[in-house]
Structures are given as C-alpha cells and as structure tokens.
Amino acid sequence: MKVTFEINGAEKSVDVEPRTLVVDLIRTKLGMTGTHIGCDTSNCGACTVLLDGRPVKSCTLLAPMLEGRKVTTVEGLAKGGKLDAIQVGFHEEHGLQCGFCTPGMMLVGKALIEANPHPTEDEIRWGISGNICRCTGYMNIVKAIQHAAAANATENTAGVA
C-alpha cells in the first residue's frame, strides 16, 4: 500500500506492505541507517524517532501509521550543515562511546528540552528512561542534554537586550 508522510522536512511516498515496521521502512526502503535496531521486544529505544515532535519507538509502529504525519530522524538534526545544540552537547560532554544508542538519545533529549527548557537531572533521567545505553553509564548523556539546554537558553537570551 502507499504511505505518504514527511520525513526530515521532505515529503515521501512509499509503497510497502502494511506489516512493515517503521524502523525497517526508514532503514531499508529509505536507506537511512542512522536509526538503529537493538532489541525485538520494544525495550531499548535504539529505534527512537520523533513523530510529530514526540519521541516514539519506530520498531513499534507500522508503516501505515505514518500517513500524513511528520517524522524526524537523526539525519534531520543538523540544518544546513549546522549542528543542532543536542549534537554539540553530546560531542562536548563525551555523551557517546559506541554511538549505537546516540541517535535515539539525541532525539529524546532534544524533545525533552523543547518541552522543558530547564530540566532537573531527575527529569532528564526520567525522560531518557526508555532509552538504553550500554556504554556510558548515562552520566555524560545527562551532561550532554544539560549542555544543550544551557546553549539553547543562552541563544534565547542572546537577542534580549
């Protein structure tokens, strides 16, 4: 069946079986491999994308559920060659080691600070509790998200006299 949706700002129309998982649609049909598969029981969050701005597990979505909706993947974070604050935060704070959970973590982090610009550490840890990392022990992921929140705050006040 045909499914039409927007991904990283561009409209796409694909022909897929209804049973196609969105993560497979993204990785195989669209060839965008930044979204990862880490488990088979919807427990790890490596497949996280933003659906209409909200972080969801793309392994637990069927392709037809994208109809008319907007998807953001890690490939859509940098705009015109400029890194998103969340990407800068992860780099500056050593928030990644193997990089496998990182796309999902960054998208969750970005959505979190957009909804809550000054999160506490507890709020961050709670907010990323659907995303598993095996490498970092989460300490620097928290710092990375705090870094991005602070950068956003600076940018937002920068224009204020």
Binding site: V56, P64, S129
Partner: protein, 292 residues
C-alpha cells in the same frame, strides 16, 4: 521479529470500524496506539487477517469533566493523562499511575483504552479502573453497552468485550467529597511490568469517615483484582492506623499471586499488603488535606 502479513484499513468513521468488526470478528484486531498489539504481532503471538486502525476516528480521544464524571476517550494516550494535572485532588490515582506505565516513549503512543482492553494481568490501568469504579462505554454495530470495571477483567488478556465491539470511552464518577488516592508499583526497572502494584482511591465523608474506598491490585492474579473485602471493611470507618492495617491485610488476602522469577507468592502477597497500607495512608492524608 516482524509480523506475519495482514490486511490493513484505517476507517475515518466509527460506523465503518463497527461494520468491519461485525464482518471480521475474531479475524480482526483493533489498532489504537499499537504498543501492546504490535509487539504481539512481531512475536507472531497474534496473526490477524485484518488490522483495523482507529487512529482516524473522531470523538474518542481527550479528557473532560461532565455531569459528575471524568470522561476519558478510549484513544487518549497515557502521556495525556500524565499531563492532566487538573485531575490532582480528584483522581490522584490516575495521575500517579500514568507516569509509571512502561516508559516515556511507549506512553507517547499507547492509549488508555487499548491498555484496558488488552487486559494484561500486570497492566496498570486495570487496577486503577477497579479502584475508581470506572465504567467502559463499548459500541458495536448493534448498539452500545456500558460495562462496569468490576467484572470486566475475566482472565489473562480476557475481558467482557465482544469481538465485534470497540471501547470508545472510560467514565469515572467523581463526587464532590474529599478524595485522595495513589498508585504504588514495584517494578524491577523502568519499562518492566509490575511485579506488584496497587491502586487506592478513598473518598471521605464530611464526618471524616471513609465514605468509600476503592482498592485495585495489579500483577497478583490472573486478572486485575478488586479487593472488595478490604473496601467493605473500610466503608464507614474512621481512617485509623488499625483500620488501614486491617484493610491492607484483607487486600493481601485477596491477591492470588503466582511464584515466578520476580518472587514467591508469599512475597508478592506481602508487598501487596504493604503497598495497600502505605497507599491508604497517603490517600487519606491527601483527602484530609484536600480543599472542601
């Protein structure tokens, strides 16, 4: 890891959904948030012929107050209940349970109605709905039924819903009395199902006595359990430590837990008792602190 093939349709109107359900019956599965259904499809524990996506149907999402009820559209997402902070003081137990369901990503998609109909014995909403005395509005091509939560949950993944019916709304009666409640969940980690969880909802009369108590137990039986003996023991009582302790003991006895990797039956029963005891204290404190 991937579902077996199925047909898929996303009707724009409820009537079409109901007509399809009466046509396909058990060959169909209703898709709401998909966070319970899709994992089943992926494991091939469910292999429907047709999946009916109710994502486009109007009028079955949202939370509003009307005529002494809080009405929750069945397709309301868990995350929307989490954010319905104006329920504080009225339905504390819902606000305390919502953030504990699974993890934040699942909550962005999963729905209250979907979870209730899925009826996992360790699903959180079941115990909550029993505690608050909810009613479920279910529709079919043949008409509408209103089913009380008590008795709705019949067994593991088995409810009073017929195969040609879809749930459209959850209705919870809210009086004017002072109420308080809470949800306590023992989970091994975020995202795990409950090992034991308890939902408590208490309404105090003007005389300070317990006008009614609702106690729902999660993950300690073949289905969500309403601790009716414990509730009855509290009705009309002063909310003393002794009354609460006795109710908690009765609630523990109402549990029918099975031993498994999470613990012995004795363990789960005792945690249910401890949680109901703690939960009742919190519920009473909140109700007593509530504005008149």
């Amino acid at each position: 890891m991937f579902p077996a093939a199925f047909d898929y349709i996303a009707p724009g109107a409820l009537d079409e959904v109901l007509s399809l359900l009466s046509q396909h019956g058990d060959d169909a599965k209703v898709l709401a948030g998909g966070q319970s259904l899709i994992p089943l499809l992926k494991l091939r524990f469910a292999a429907p012929v047709i999946v009916i996506d109710i994502g486009r149907v109007d009028g079955i999402e949202g939370i509003r107050r009307e005529n002494g009820h809080v009405r929750i559209g069945a397709r309301t997402r868990h995350r929307d209940v989490e954010r319905a902070t104006d329920l504080r003081g009225t339905l504390d137990v819902l606000l305390d349970a919502a953030p504990l369901i699974s993890d934040p990503l699942i909550r962005n998609m999963g729905t209250v109605g979907g979870s209730v109909c899925h009826a996992d014995p360790a699903g959180d909403w079941g115990a909550v709905m029993l505690a608050v005395g909810a009613e479920f509005v279910v529709k079919s091509a043949g008409g509408e039924r209103v089913l009380p939560a008590a008795g709705f949950f019949e067994g593991p993944f088995t409810t009073g819903l017929h195969s040609d019916e879809v749930m459209t709304e959850i209705r919870i009666p809210v009086g004017t009395g002072k109420s308080g409640g809470t949800y306590l969940k023992l989970e091994r980690k975020v995202g795990d199902f409950a090992s034991v969880a308890t939902a408590v909802h208490v309404v105090l009369g003007d005389d300070g006595r317990i006008a009614s108590a609702g106690i729902g137990l999660c993950a300690v039986g073949a289905h969500s359990i309403k601790a009716t003996a414990a509730e009855a023991a509290l009705a009309g009582q002063e909310p003393t430590d002794a009354a609460i302790a006795e109710a908690a003991r009765l609630a523990g006895e109402a549990a029918e837990p099975k031993a498994d990797i999470r613990g012995s039956a004795e363990y789960k029963r005792d945690v249910a008792r401890v949680f109901v005891q703690r939960g009742l204290h919190t519920a009473v404190d909140r109700a007593q602190g509530a504005a008149a």
